[in-house]
Subunit: 378 residues, 5 copies
């Protein structure tokens, strides 16, 4: 197969969809039948690192690697606490954290089992939000980011190091925008908005890939394009599976009657909701175009086959009868035995007549093909 | 590829869909993670030009190039003020305008980021409407037109010079219809109605293209038609993406409980809503026909291939056996060595018998094909 | 292309769908940006002819060509007035009529712009109904019939002479059924019911066409069938576009809270609603079958191609090797020069051996094909 | 076409779907424009035969051929009367019956026009139910069964003799189950349940046909299978059209607020509703599988064509060059004239060299095909 | 056909979907027309074995083979009784059980007729739940598990021995998790959750199969893949038919107002509901990918056919004209008779000229093909 390139998929210079299948493979961590709320760490999960930020409008404190035991002291009224847990391998630590903030075991189980669909659930003490963030530089692969939002704290869980939250951290540090004045709900919004916006550049790449395929499929259809179209379709399917429930999750947050989400933040979430609708719109548009491309490919192939067959048919159909005539006069019937045996061979004009016959047959066939329109452009 | 014509797409004499892809490519202006309400001008945006009209039933004033600072004075009770901003490059100016009329930053951000879907949002001080207007003479390309509608003013933002609002301006100037007596909400309706009506002529062109393709695909299927069908489908997809949310936007306005939309105007909007439904109806009909055309193309190609193969098969199948017989008697086995070596060559009727054998074989095959029905019309 | 017949489409003996495209082409009469309620006559519209009927249970009066000015006198309490306007070319006359009965300008505009979708709208003084009637004898072409229904009058607007209302007129004249006792709403129902029933015979023709195509596509697939299947699909799409909103319109009438529609009439409308559902059901069934037929066609073509290729392959594959052997012994290597030069030619059994070799090769190939199953029925 | 068998379709030993098209053809009995409630008998309808049963928990009376005039006397309080009318040809008789039991004319019209969709309608004096019963032994053909259910009577109308109600009659006669204690609503339920259950065996046959086609299409694809797949799809479409509204009808009965349907019967109807959902489920599953089979067929055909073409290409491509070489040395250039004229013919090793050249060419081509993978299994 | 392997389908080492069709064949047990609530045992059903467990937080008793008569004594207040019936052959025994716990006959009938769709129904004395459990080691085959849940007992009916409930039994025995403290509703949840989780490993296998097919279809398309794709599609359809109503069933339980389902358990069911949504999501994703694979297959086949045809056309088109020239000079016209008869044969440079002519023709054709782009990669 010619379409596979050994180039690493995450390389920045090519928008080609990677041949990984992140979103179509799901494994449940816990065994079927395990009691609900059973926390079993993914053997591949990273060691957790906890960082905390405490801020109010006038000050901000940053604790890059903060033990769980210190978190309680940071949870102070009038200030917003953001606890960011990166890596989910240490069940004990996560359980301590859960205990410290009164998190329901079922929610903790969803934090550990990182194949949840985005959703927003209202518990008594907090709102539990699951979202999926594109892993930077890895195509359509997503990791789960879980949020626990309460009145003045926000806990986020990420699967591994590397996220797209740096702009938010910088806005917090630089006190840009209203982020420092607003509460934990605005912080949650800002992070979700960043996650949602992160889908745009990836979709843009697929837009370019689709356009490129559109040009190629007509100009020079080849089997590697089929492979690429199929890959694009599958990747868009994966993106759709990430974006569609995100849309519902954001919509759920807007409608949620939780006291932890204040009215102004809902207005901002409405803006974020518009983005998720637009993302779905783009994904669906690209999927429809990509689906159409396979039809174009088949039609294009069919046209090419037609052209090939025409060439074969014209050449074969003209020369096979001529060859037959030549073969006829190559027969060795003995003219000496009988005047009936190939008298043409001894005619004075025998050869010119034979050539003339051949020319006439060829001309008749060419006229026939010309009238059928096979000799012009396909 | 033969289907691409260098002719400019906007030329009036050909309804061929242009090979631009305006609506399937979307770029977000602000970086992911930028604070919401960040206003970043599109580097390609035009310099803003502000024009204002103040009118009541008995008088009308026109200020073609009006500084922002003068607008406050024009906002007088009992009169309707229409501020039309063309070009979005100057963020400062737009912020001043926003401040002067109390526009929410999130709405201003949507004005600048010109890839919004049509929508209607109810703010406290105004209704914010986003719509998409076909750029005159550029096929399915749309530009964003944003409206801020309040009790006695309407602010519109357009991306660039050139719009379809001249008939409305003339009606205002000439005091034709009820436009001068009615309020700002009727003006907004009149503009939206003009935008919606602007889709009809473009759709009509696609109607003609589709009909032309219908005729061609059956009569002489060619690969350039596949290209054109695909283009039509993609363009109709783009139109659908513009019209569908417009329908929802108009419906939203009808149902909006805002005090800025009065009852009589809602009746007119209902009429406009009917038009958006009809547009969707036409778009979907054309899309279904265009989709069907690819099937027709494939079927047509398949029929042609069949015909080509039949010709090849008939000629080859008749002459290959004849050629074999001719070849047989062209062998040089030495009849002198043995009476078994090609005694036919010395028969008195050898040659006529060979010709007769050939004729019989050919006749048998022709009868065979005739009974198979391959010799008639395909 | 062989499928096009010059026969007139409306001729009764053939159910073939006509190659007109009435329902997929729509032109808006008024220019984009014209003030709403602008009445611009279609240049092709017919001159209006107004006829009026006034009836009660015991008497009926008929005024075949009645001036607008006389209508007011005919509008008497206790009697039902039916004004039937045929032809929409005279804007003045229609405006006078509108003024006489207090019709809203927006509704009048919809009367003139004859490409409305069927709908029912509730105005204060009347119910405004738009429906689409099949033009007798012109396939799927429809014309718009607009109704204004109030307490004791009904005004209908038709595009041109010729309608399907004669049975209703006869029932009125003959006082058959309950039509003379019931009010204007029952008359409106009777007319709508007649319009809806008019779709049945046309659909029946398509049913026959579809069945005929089903038989032909398997028995002798040809490209003209593809053309006809495509035509049927497009015509059914057009019918669907007429029937679907009719269904909604009738449903709207049943639910309408207007005082002009009395309870017993709603019961009759429920019956009419059942018919529209059944019509949609039939249309969708035929469309699905017609769509399936293209797949059958392609499969059928594919099977035929296979058969053709098999014949070619069998003949060519058997005779090409035989021809090669014959050619081999037709070479002119000089046996006198060397004992290695074609000693076969001088063998006593040379020729029989060569023939035997050919027979063996042919037999082997025939066995090969037989075992592949290519020699039986396809 | 080989797929058509002359065997009668109703014969029990073959599950092949019959090539009748009962459900896709509909004719309205009354002319368009006829007054509603017009009763026009189907010219093909059977003469009506009225039978009546009167029963209570302790006794049952059977009147196999009962005149209409006697029915009033059988309608006694405390007993359930079941009037079963088979055959709809006698309009007078049906009108008398309607008058005797106060049946609305619109409902009577629906009884006569036997192409109604299943539905349940609530009239003041009775519930009117239309259902469709599979005609025993005639594939997917259905006949209309109409029910009028009131407090203590049930009237059923069937199109023709022969139904699936015998088990219910036997349960009535034998007083098996709760049927004799329960009221007319339970009897109606029992009959509807019998009708619904009657779809199972027919669907089972289609299940077998679909499975058989699945095996055949892969093993030996042929055009008759396309015909059969298409028939199955169309028949399932017909069944779907009968079952889908039945589901809605039963659901309507469950929700109906009519006093004639008592609470315990609704519980039984819920069970019947489950069956209709399951039937729809099966129909849709079979339809999806059947649709997939056409794709499998095309893929299978395509694979076969590939194989055929490979054989042709291999044989032709090997022997055509060899034949050319043989032809070359069959030319008659006179070697005596010039030493350049075919000196090979006089070489000592001329013939072996020519044979060697041929062998080399053939070997090279075979290696080429082998490396292309054309010589292995397809 | 090459795709069928005789390997047993349940063998663990291959994820290939089995060629059994469990879910697309349904047979109703009772005859159409049998009275509702008729209990007819499946002739293939297993003999019932009843086991009972009685537990409270501090103790647990296990009765592996418990007669029906003993169950009443085990039904004690303050303890939860779980009666597990495996095998449905003994109608009497099941009726006794039904009588002992006041189960409605219609529910019992659904227990026996093991082709119910999953559902939850609220009876007065208990909640009746039907679910479908994957039979361990038999691919997509499911068996029906019926639940009767009341305040302090749960009765489950399974079709045959072998289930996936052992982990729950172990948790009960070991008093792991909250299962022993919670009531019968939590037990029901735990069992349903186990059933739902049981779909994950099977879906994972299909995920692997689909990925494998994706690789194969491009690399070496063959007809056995079509068979496998079709099998995967049909199996996923079967899984969808099991999972979709399960989702509704769980949702129904969450919303059920039954007193037998307590609030905390509903929270757990919400978690279970998320799993059913995720399962549906995966099934639909795999189905879309599998559907796309058939298109990829056809495109791939089409590309291969093109390549084959190109090779044939190039070889045939080059050598047929050359062969004709060779045949021409193999004719036996007698040059002695006339100077016009093949004078070329006696030219000094005749043979080299003929060879040159052939080379020129071949070169011209090669250039032609090269310019058509047929000589490069396909």
């Amino acid at each position: 197969m010619t379409g596979r390139r050994p180039k690493p998929a995450g390389s920045a210079d090519t928008p080609r969809p990677a041949r990984r299948r992140p979103a179509t493979r799901i494994r449940r961590r816990s065994d079927p039948g395990a009691p609900p709320g059973t926390l079993v760490a993914d053997p591949l999960a990273a060691k957790p690192v906890i960082s905390a930020m405490v801020y109010s409008a006038d000050r901000i404190e940053d604790y890059p690697d903060c033990p769980v035991s210190d978190l309680a002291a940071l949870h102070r009224p009038g200030q917003v606490l953001w606890v960011d847990v990166v890596g989910l391998a240490d069940i004990d630590l996560i359980e301590q954290l859960g205990a410290a903030f009164g998190i329901h075991r079922l929610a903790l189980e969803d934090v550990i089992n990182v194949h949840q669909r985005p959703k927003a659930e209202d518990f008594d003490d907090h709102v539990f939000i699951v979202s999926r963030m594109l892993v930077p530089g890895r195509g359509t692969e997503t990791e789960q980011v879980s949020f626990f939002l309460a009145d003045n704290y926000l806990i986020t869980f990420q699967e591994r190091a590397g996220d797209c939250f740096d702009p938010v951290r910088q806005r917090l540090a630089a006190s840009r925008g209203r982020i420092r004045e607003a509460g934990a709900d605005y912080l949650a919004y800002a992070l979700i908005d960043t996650i949602v916006d992160g889908f745009y550049p990836v979709l843009e790449q697929y837009g370019e890939t689709v356009e490129q395929l559109e040009d190629e499929v007509i100009a020079r259809p080849g089997i590697d394009q089929v492979d690429r179209i199929h890959s694009v379709k599958r990747d868009l399917l994966a993106l759709r599976r990430a974006i569609w429930p995100t849309r519902e999750m954001v919509n759920g947050l807007i409608r949620e009657e939780s006291p932890f989400l204040k009215e102004p933040t809902r207005l901002y979430l409405r803006d974020c909701y518009d983005h998720t609708i637009q993302l779905m719109d783009i994904v669906e548009t690209y999927r429809e175009i990509a689906s159409g491309l396979l039809d174009v490919y088949l039609s294009s192939m069919s046209a090419r086959m037609n052209e090939i067959m025409k060439v074969l048919t014209i050449i074969a159909t003209i020369f096979i009868p001529l060859g037959f005539i030549a073969g006829l006069y190559g027969m060795n019937f003995n003219p000496d035995v009988s005047p009936l045996n190939m008298p043409e061979l001894r005619l004075y004009y025998g050869y010119p007549l034979a050539l003339g016959l051949m020319t006439a047959v060829a001309a008749a066939l060419i006229v026939y093909f010309w009238r059928k329109g096979w000799l012009g452009k396909s």
